[in-house]
């Protein structure tokens, strides 16, 4: 039997809701709700595979695992190591394409 008395109190989510959601948050939420974010993610994945970015990240991961040893690496490790390199190496053309799509979405959602 678990002692619910000893559990720490659930953090108060009420306070957070009093803050005004930023524009970025509003856009993000709208995009997720309409399913547009899902579509853009698929598009992004496709583009990144096409240009070889995914293969490069895979190679980086392999190199890192080889260096550390298979049993000494966790997924979190890999994510932390790869993320900055990944973000830096995305081709500009892909960034541009996605920005255009987001802009088009905003126009159509009348935000």
């Amino acid at each position: 039997m678990r002692n619910s008395v000893n559990r720490p109190p659930t953090p108060d989510a009420v306070e957070d809701q009093e803050k005004e959601p930023t524009l970025q948050e509003i856009i993000n939420i709208k995009m997720i709700e309409s399913g547009e974010k899902e579509k853009l993610m698929e598009l992004l994945r496709e583009r990144l595979v096409e240009c070889g970015w995914k293969d490069e990240m895979k190679a980086l991961c392999r190199a890192y695992i080889k260096k550390k040893g298979t049993n000494n690496v966790t997924v979190d490790d890999l994510v932390h190591v790869i993320t900055p390199k990944g973000r830096a190496s995305i081709p500009d053309s892909i960034k541009t394409e996605l920005l255009l799509r987001i802009r088009a979405f905003l126009a159509s959602a009348a935000l």
Partner: protein, 549 residues
Amino acid sequence: MMSRNSMYTNPKPCKHLADYKLRHGLSGYNLLQEQIRTTPSGKSSVKNHQTEIPRCCFCNGYQKRLYLCLICSSISCSSHTLLHSQCENGHDIAVDIERSELYCVLCCDQVYDPDFDKIVMLKHLMDLPRSGNGVDVSAGRRSSKRRRLCSALELDLKKTKQLVSMRDLRAKSCYPLGLRGLNNLGSTCFMNSVLQALLHAPPFRNYFLTGQRNHEVCRKRSSDRLCLLCDIYVFFSAVFSGDRTPYSPAQLLYSWWQHSANLASYEQQDAHEFFISVLDGIHENGVKARNTGECHCVAHRVFSGQLRSDVTCMSCGYTSTTYDPFMDISLNLDTGNCPSTDLANKSLKPSDNTYVSTLLGCLDLFTKPEKLGSDQKFFCENCQERQDSVKQMSIKRLPLVLCLHIKRFEHFPVRRMSRKIDRYMQFPFCLDMNPYLSSSVVRNRFGNRMFAFEGDELDTSTEFEIFAVVTHSGTLDSGHYVTYLHLKDQWYKCDDAWITAVEEEVVRASQCYMLFYAQKMLYYKANEDLVCQPVSPRADPFLPIAGCC
């Protein structure tokens, strides 16, 4: 390039996962199954029926990776999973919502459970449009695997051992059996090079040497007609006789001309075309193929495999699968060029000039999913209209001997010109074909789930050893074919009538055109048998071999 795992073994569960399984079994997984949704591209996510977007119950964040606790279904972001586990004792296992992958909070790492993957897979398959999918969840067919193994064993050289006497090996002065120069009869190096490779394809060689081809009772010869199989048998006997003087395969050449009248001339021909045409000739001359099932002529038994082609509709995920037989695989050279544009700002990618083509790279290219052009829209049965689609090739069944042909001759019918691609390609001596099998390729498509697929023939070996390399030098119009044979750990260069022992570096540096790999166990067995020398009354085995240095 790192090699992939040859054995697809399941990783051991961490003790937290093992603990969870003991206590809860599959109940958590089964409850989750309802909520899993899969996109046509194969990505499985956990989608609650809530209209709101999932948020971390501690920080209300929604941007990071979110994990759903398997026991209480509360959602935490990657920063707060540990906190949840501390609050609730035993809530250690969670599922990554976006990817449907298991995560152990205490190990801070992804964990794997075949039972979980099975449930995700089942849901995915249930959601896919029916039929033609090609991924059958039910138990794999026993198929003709056993028949094929028996076939391979029949082609064993055991019988030949009874015909030759065992001799004490005098090491270097004794060349292996079956090494004999072939005279060039007028631009016939294309034929000589392929014949050298065929002479040493283990099951092919054994078939002819163990007298399975009984040319005495060949109907064609008795009626004075040409029989390609008999001529090949005569050819094999001559080469393996122990006589080392260069041999002229004139009868064989004539026999082949009869079969392939369009190629009968003294012009240089393509070695690969010759190879295909000889196999075709053997097939037609040989045992009459039964109407159902596989052909049992020696050419098919040795060289034929099966390819699988999957065409997937990009809108709904419906996949149409077809199987086709093959006698060899023609590969395009991988050049490392990406189809997309802007890579200028990438510091990681080396310039194209330094990219070295490799055989594994070519095989990767062969099994890579390829987006079909807009002019090749596939008619999707499910959508009932033409859709953009993706095609992917893989190998359903490997042959005993694998012939890989590198497409070095480009033909441009519009411009009416042809050219040769001289690009160097690196190739391994040991080749593991596991990553290119249908089971591996299809499994990867579903996101590397731990799941046994139909046709997962784990006890069939996928490891191959190289035994012959046919190389081409020169231009398309005036070139020369040379074969390198790998026998008993030594490489031999077979240049028409001249046979020399060479170092393996020479072979590695050569410009390969056709590569011949044999299944590992067949290769090693065949090499054992080469130790014996035939007792030949004519030739003294210690005389220096004419034409060899």
